[in-house]
């Protein structure tokens, strides 16, 4: 039995001079992966930023575990259990890998010993990070930085984990590892929102699928309720692109 951890009601948001989201309604449950797709400029990053508290809403409510967090600061939401892994692997490049992980968990583990244990657990998840623990994070490769970014957030055991295009620029094997790590987190009960540009990899692990276009949620359904994948492709690629996909599938 999964319960709802996050709900957005009629949320509209944007930046100081540019509105980006209109009337967003969605619900995310624990132990499930919600995938959000959409082209550039559709508002995916804006949506995650709004949920995380980096942007103020114009209107609407954000409910986290039943509690209204719409007016709470970003750091407060993080400490309540809302974790966001931003796009472009935004870790602290000048700090070492180990320091990055410490920053990820400093507020959660009051005792040094517990923080240590949590960090070791992340090293178990992504062993390459252990090898690089004393290196400045900026010297890591793209895939390693992405793993560090995820570990940094997951260390604090968030209830909702949001990932913004974690596969961008990564080799397929690494993307597979990332997605399987995400699936494992889902299985352990975390609620996950996964924003992506590529379509099929995320679709495989998705439980719910949403599509954003020009600031609106034009599709939001459980995967099992979607009859035809072309529905998504058309929204995503436009007619010409969807046609090409169909053609290449048949050839």
């Amino acid at each position: 039995m999964t319960d709802e951890v996050l709900r957005l009601e009629d949320v509209s948001a944007g930046y100081d001079d540019l509105r980006a989201l209109w009337d967003i309604n969605l619900s995310v449950r624990s132990g499930e992966i919600t995938v959000l797709l959409g082209p550039n400029g559709a508002g995916k990053t804006t949506l995650l930023s709004t949920i995380a508290g980096l942007l103020r809403t114009y209107s609407g409510k954000i409910l986290f575990e039943g509690r209204d967090v719409t007016t709470l600061q970003a750091h407060t939401r993080a400490r309540l259990g809302l974790g966001l892994v931003q796009e472009n692997k935004r870790i602290f490049r000048r700090r070492t890998v180990e320091e990055n992980l410490m920053i990820g968990g400093f507020w959660r583990y009051r005792r040094r010993r517990d923080l240590r244990a949590a960090i070791e657990a992340e090293y178990d998840r992504f062993p390459i990070l252990r090898e690089r623990r004393d290196k400045p994070a900026g010297t890591l490769s793209g895939g390693e930085q992405q793993m560090l970014a995820i570990s940094q957030v997951v260390l604090a055991k968030p209830r909702v984990l949001m990932l913004d295009e974690p596969s961008a620029g990564l080799a397929p094997e690494i993307v597979r590892r990332v997605f399987s790590a995400v699936a494992a987190l889902r299985d352990s009960g975390m609620a996950i929102i996964l924003v992506e540009q590529v379509v099929h990899g995320p679709l495989e692990i998705a439980d719910t699928i949403g599509v954003l276009d020009l600031g609106r949620l034009v599709l939001f359904k459980a995967k099992r309720d979607i009859e035809d994948i072309s529905e998504i492709e058309r929204l995503y690629f436009g007619e010409a692109g969807a046609t090409s996909l169909r053609e290449s599938n048949q050839s």
């Binding site: 509209s12 944007g14 930046y15 100081d16 001079d17 540019l18 509105r19 209109w22 082209p39 550039n40 400029g41 559709a42 114009y58 209107s59 796009e87 490049r93 900026g138 010297t139 890591l140 490769s141 793209g142 390693e144 930085q145 295009e165 596969s167 961008a168 620029g169 990564l170 080799a171 397929p172 993307v175 597979r176 540009q197 590529v198 379509v199 099929h200 990899g201 995320p202 679709l203 495989e204 276009d213 020009l214 600031g215 609106r216 994948i229 690629f237 436009g238 007619e239 010409a240 692109g241 090409s244 996909l245 053609e247 290449s248 599938n249 048949q250 050839s251």
Partner: protein, 608 residues
């Protein structure tokens, strides 16, 4: 604190009506035979001149500087020393004072502008604090801490001038300074300062040398202060270092903010308010710093950003909140040019010409991350070459490499015969490369036509003197600027917004405006950075048309884009990047059916 529209209304009455002010300022004190009034008017005029210079440096060019009092002091002492030593001709001392101030501006500006942010303010402020020391070192001439007494009455063209004459001279000089300042900011030079203030990146992409332009604005801003100093030294026949200290400097800044830093006439209002306010009475003198301090804090919070201050931010937020969604926005009526997809050729499209862009084995690494890996692409003139790929594929990095905001780790980029990869961004822009930005970068305070006209800033130059004196060359260039801008606007279908403030136009229009600005540069190469992002169907159609126009003109077009159908529609050749590597090249038909490409877009193996 008066906002732009109120002053705009005042200004529309007539710039010549403003001449009434100096006339009244002379007639009233003379007619009422009031030396007190004459003195107040003189002090206001003098202070206003100093503040006008600060407004040019700070309000227009965005450079925070605290050195006006130093330039003021230099002007005063040059005149004072010359006058005391028998060279009292104002027609000599005034230009020398102005020159001295300009030199001082150079000395503090060249190092001060090397590091951003506070360094210019600090260097210029240091100058102010050094005035007593310098006065002491040169005490033989300047009288040191005791000051320089015995400055004779002003002599103009050989004739000694009495107190009414002095007032007249001050007012005439002030009027001329204001006219010059107004002419300077209401011109393409003023526009270039606004570009500079908005974004140094935009300035570079337009071919403007940021450092040199800021230095110029700073030195120009010093000149009126020097002139004011010259006049000041004749006021009491005595000057001393105390007149040029810290609180005087702060007073100038306060006056600038009070009247509105981005307004020429505002400096007059600020100076008047400060001069006539309660601070003048001796009872309040000792509280003056306290009042200035509080005012600066409040003024800084609410007003120093001008229209972009807190009040402005609030207004923009409210406006943004109620803006219509692009997918449901009503179509604007009477846009005759939109629906036509026919070729609309204008003289603009006949004159431009492109050259082949060669990207050869270019690699860019950031630490351990290779963003672009041994990519080679050839883009011929008169064709649209599209570069596509998912986020993280390196396409944006490649664009920044071509336009010079990054240097390649290895490999070269050549346009025609010019090697771009060793040039700086603004030199690349000058060699005929124009680009747009993913987030439209449009300076506040300009109309759409003005924005397009900024494209010509680096290619056609008009000197400061021509601009101030409104010589024929200035007018000719201005007409050409306007004509060129309107032509380009018509080419992209934006004639109907030519005179509207550009920064409040909708996103799609601003994107088109950026394309228009790029076209107006008569470039050899145009780089389009994800222009379709966030646009609805109508705006996409207009964008596609505009790009076709550019192609017809024979320009080389590089289109970095994520919108697959737009790319299939427009491109002559498509290159696909994945994780920094080029994985496919071909015509739209070839790419459309290329399984590897689709896989890179669509993720792991395509499922049916």
């Amino acid at each position: 604190m008066l906002n732009e529209t109120t002053l705009d209304r005042l200004r529309r009455v007539s710039p010549y009506a403003a001449l009434l002010i100096p006339v009244l300022a002379y007639v009233v004190p003379v007619a009422t035979e009031s030396p007190f009034l004459a003195r107040q008017v003189t002090l206001i005029a003098i202070m206003a001149m100093v503040v006008v210079g600060l407004n040019i440096t700070y309000g227009y060019a965005g450079e925070f500087a605290l050195g006006q009092a130093a330039f003021y002091a230099v002007g005063a002492y040059i005149t004072g020393v010359l006058a005391v030593n028998g060279h009292n001709e104002m027609l000599l001392t005034l230009p020398l004072s102005a020159l001295g101030a300009a030199l001082c501006g150079l000395i503090s500006g060249i190092p001060g502008l090397r590091l951003g942010g506070w360094s210019l303010a600090m260097v210029s402020f240091f100058l102010v604090l050094l005035i007593p020391d310098i006065a002491d070192i040169t005490r033989e001439w300047t009288g040191g801490f005791d000051g320089l007494p015995g400055i004779p009455l002003m002599v103009v063209a050989g004739t000694e001038v009495d107190s009414n004459g002095y007032l007249l001279v001050v007012l005439i000089v002030a009027t001329l300074v204001f006219a010059a300042a107004r002419n300077l900011v209401k011109s393409r030079i003023g526009a270039s300062l606004l570009v500079l203030k908005q974004s140094p990146v935009l300035a570079r992409s337009l071919g403007i040398s940021v450092y040199r332009s800021k230095l110029l604005a700073y030195v120009i801003g010093a000149v009126p202060a020097g002139i004011a100093g010259c006049l000041f030294s004749y006021l009491d026949g005595y000057i001393a270092p105390e007149s040029f200290g810290f609180s005087v400097s702060v007073g100038f800044l306060a006056a600038s903010i009070l009247g509105g830093s981005q307004s020429i006439y505002g400096s007059l209002i600020g100076a008047a308010l400060l001069q006539l306010g309660p601070l003048r009475s001796t009872a309040f003198q000792e509280y003056s710093l306290v009042v200035y301090g509080v005012f600066l804090i409040i003024g800084g919070i609410f007003f120093s950003g001008g229209i972009t201050g807190i009040g402005g931010a609030l207004i923009r937020r409210v406006r943004a909140r109620f803006s219509p969604s692009p997918s449901t926005a009503p179509r604007a009526p009477a846009r005759a040019s939109v629906s036509s997809t026919e070729a609309r050729r204008t003289a603009v499209t006949d004159k431009a010409s492109g050259e082949t862009l060669v990207i050869r084995n270019v690699t860019k690494a950031f630490g351990a991350i290779t963003a672009v890996n041994d990519v080679s692409i050839e883009a011929p003139a008169g064709k649209v070459t599209a570069i596509i790929g998912a986020n993280g594929s390196g396409k944006t990095t490649l664009l920044n490499l071509i336009s010079g905001f990054y240097r390649p780790t290895s490999g070269e980029i050549i346009l025609g015969k010019t090697k771009l990869s060793t040039l700086t961004a603004h030199r690349i822009a000058r060699s005929g490369v124009a680009r747009t930005f993913q987030t439209p970068t449009i300076p506040a305070g300009l109309t759409a036509a003005d924005v397009v006209a900024t494209a010509r800033l680096a290619d056609v130059r008009v000197g400061v003197l021509s601009t101030i004196l409104r010589l024929p060359k200035f007018h000719r260039v201005r007409r050409e600027d306007r004509r060129a801008a309107l032509e380009v606007l018509e080419t992209v279908g934006l004639s109907h917004v030519a005179n509207q403030p550009a920064s409040s136009l909708p996103l799609g229009t601003r994107r088109l405006l950026e394309v228009a600005r790029a076209l107006a540069r008569r470039p050899r190469l145009v780089l389009l950075d994800e222009p379709a992002s966030g646009l609805d169907r109508d705006a996409l159609l207009e964008l596609a048309n505009a790009i076709r126009r550019i192609r017809e003109a024979g320009v080389t077009v590089i289109l970095v884009e994520h919108n697959f159908s737009l790319v299939l529609d427009l491109a002559d050749t498509i290159h696909v990047l994945r994780r920094g590597v080029k994985i496919a090249s071909g015509t739209p038909d070839e790419i459309r059916t290329n399984a590897e490409v689709l896989e890179s877009y669509v993720g792991t193996a395509v499922k049916s």
